[in-house]
Subunit: 383 residues, 2 copies
């Protein structure tokens, strides 16, 4: 619980929900006849609806970006250090929107929702959704909120892929795109890590082919393993070394298979807390959305062609020790944008924290974001 809500917080916030009953045809060909989207907003939409910023969440994120749901909350939203009054994404200036993606497990329709056609949980029957599907559903939400054009669409990691897809697929609907710690597609190694995570979940006997809810259980061990593995790829070797080194949990070696090093204890704790609030079917689905993202695929694997229609100005950011989506992956994006004569600003930020850096209050990172967003704010006043 925060002793008191900090002055630069958006404060107490509540999620909102909208029901959509126009069918949504997914990239797979399957159709969601109706669905709900849960979202939060911070700040106020101006009269011309020119100050709206969409934040897209990553694999395990949700719509709760900033502020607190209750005074008892131990922690604020996942990007509270970026979003708030006077912060980089300044809610005194911008109207910020973030939704829980379709297929998520935090309120929007997904595997943990009731399928209206069967009156049972979707579970593993929820269709696989893609980054394109998310962008389409986000655009439908934007319509409902009367936002014709975003001042910016912003995202890190899988969120950055959504931001990129917005700029590619709906070029007139955003003026800026901020693509942070992302990649234009997964590498074979990225896919391999996802496949190990999926195999861990699916081979947990409590998975029951995805119907664990009707067995009153959850695949704790499999999902926990997936999360442990995820954590390794989110942190740099350097950050892990600095944080845990080879420090022993109990001072001396026990020559057994209990927790020995602090890093083991950390991973176990992280995975145990994660499995209590995240849905395994959603985790599977999110990793598939990552695997499938490949905007150049429809353009003969030429990323420059894929981004040819982009109208938004682009900010691309990467972090030096990120080995999940390394700076080289951002270079691919930047090079394609440059080849296509797009306006792009790129910064590679020195950071020891690996992929996780995009979530953390790193001074240079926040300076760059603040400066860039101030430029957008100026435009907002003149739009």
């Amino acid at each position: 619980m925060p002793d008191s809500i900090p002055a630069d917080s958006v404060g107490l916030v509540s999620p909102q929900s909208l029901h959509f009953d126009s069918p949504l045809t997914l990239e797979s060909g399957r159709v969601l006849s109706q669905y709900d989207l849960v979202y939060e907003t911070y700040g106020e939409l101006n009269d011309r609806a020119s100050n709206a910023i969409l934040i897209c969440h990553a694999l395990s994120g949700d719509h709760h970006v900033a502020g607190y749901h209750t005074l008892e909350d131990k922690r604020p939203g996942w990007w509270d250090n970026i979003v708030g009054p006077g912060k980089a994404i300044d809610t005194n200036i911008f109207f910020v929107v973030c939704l829980n993606n379709l297929g998520g497990c935090s309120g929007s329709t997904g595997p943990t929702s009731i399928n209206p056609e069967t009156q049972r949980l979707y579970g593993p029957e929820f269709p696989i959704v893609t980054v394109t599907d998310w962008v389409n559903s986000q655009a439908i939400l934007a319509d409902k909120l009367n936002i014709q054009q975003w001042a910016a669409v912003v995202g890190g990691s899988l969120g950055g892929m959504q931001a990129m897809q917005w700029a590619i697929a709906l070029p007139e609907r955003l003026r800026h795109v901020l693509i942070i710690a992302a990649a234009p597609k997964l590498s074979a190694q990225n896919i391999a890590f996802n496949e190990v995570a999926r195999t861990a979940i699916k081979s947990d006997p409590d998975f029951h082919e995805g119907y664990y809810a009707s067995h009153q259980t959850i695949p704790r061990k499999g999902l926990g393993l997936a999360r442990m593995l995820g954590h390794i790829t989110y942190l740099s070797d350097e950050a892990m070394g600095a944080k845990f080194g080879r420090e022993l949990r109990h001072g001396s070696l026990n020559y057994g298979y209990d927790v020995e090093f602090q890093i083991e204890s950390y991973l176990r704790y992280q995975s145990e807390s994660f499995v209590e609030h995240f849905d395994a079917n959603t985790y599977l689905l999110m990793t598939k959305a990552l695997d499938y993202f490949d905007p150049a695929k429809h353009f003969g694997n030429d990323l420059a062609k894929a981004v040819a229609d982009i109208q938004a100005k682009c900010l691309v950011l990467s972090f030096t020790t990120d080995w999940r989506f390394s700076p080289e992956r951002s270079h691919e994006i930047v090079n394609a944008l440059l080849s296509a004569n797009k306006q792009v600003t790129y910064a590679e930020i020195e950071a020891t924290q690996g992929h996780d850096a995009f979530l953390l209050p790193i001074e240079r990172y926040h300076q760059i974001l603040t400066a860039y967003l101030q430029g957008i704010a100026k435009e907002v006043r003149s739009v």
Copy 2:
């Protein structure tokens, strides 16, 4: 099956076994009252026993380094491209020894052996063994083979750690040490990967706390996951990309959870074949030996002090795209050796294959090994 045994092969070979009934006290304090060591030898020991080379195996290796056990064997030993007549480790010149390490599952006493005190399988009751324990048992085997001093002790990865430990702990018993693709200790990230692998094995319901044999089962899924994960760390992102890219298994996306990309298919196949011949308790034990290796620990974390007594000449090799034990980790070894005024040759070999490179026929690598071993051969003639 080889159509015929190649001319530069050591040919048909047979493992040998020795029984030891002098108790061996392990680093953990536990005692093995008796044990067997299985080993192979190639070439002939000369009269002065000055031409013997010990090869130490890595995590999933064994004593079968070169040649074929039968004419039906599909593949030769694991380092057949290095060891044979006229090869880098030339069996026309050297007498080569490799044993299955204690705790292994290929014939030496380990979890799959009968505990003479209980007449039941050791299973999870087999004590945790360390690199130091292995070196001690290897020295006992050397005594039995009348090898007072090795011309060289050679190893890659975990094998390189054993070679390093030989040079540190028994400095008079080797003239050269070849430390390939190794590290002076695991990083927190290395330990984290091991912990995920162990958790996968231990949380498989077929593990039965390690007593799977008495349940007539093996923890296939957990061990398979551990192996899949291992494979990712053995290959470079580059090598995976070159080998698999994002190639689809069935030509088009299936929007489901079956195998989609070639890399997924490869990992599944690799893990399925591995679990049929490797023991899960041994896998756990090997990863612990890796975690525990830290020769500087007893010297105030000063590696230069740890290597101060080394008498062997040292060759240290690393591979550019190895991210499991990167060239930087070899630099740590080299810098410590230089600080301690040891004679050390170092080469960082351009290779796209990642950690696996140490097992592969890479021209520059084999040239360097060949040249270095020819130097040792000259010394052998003059010893």
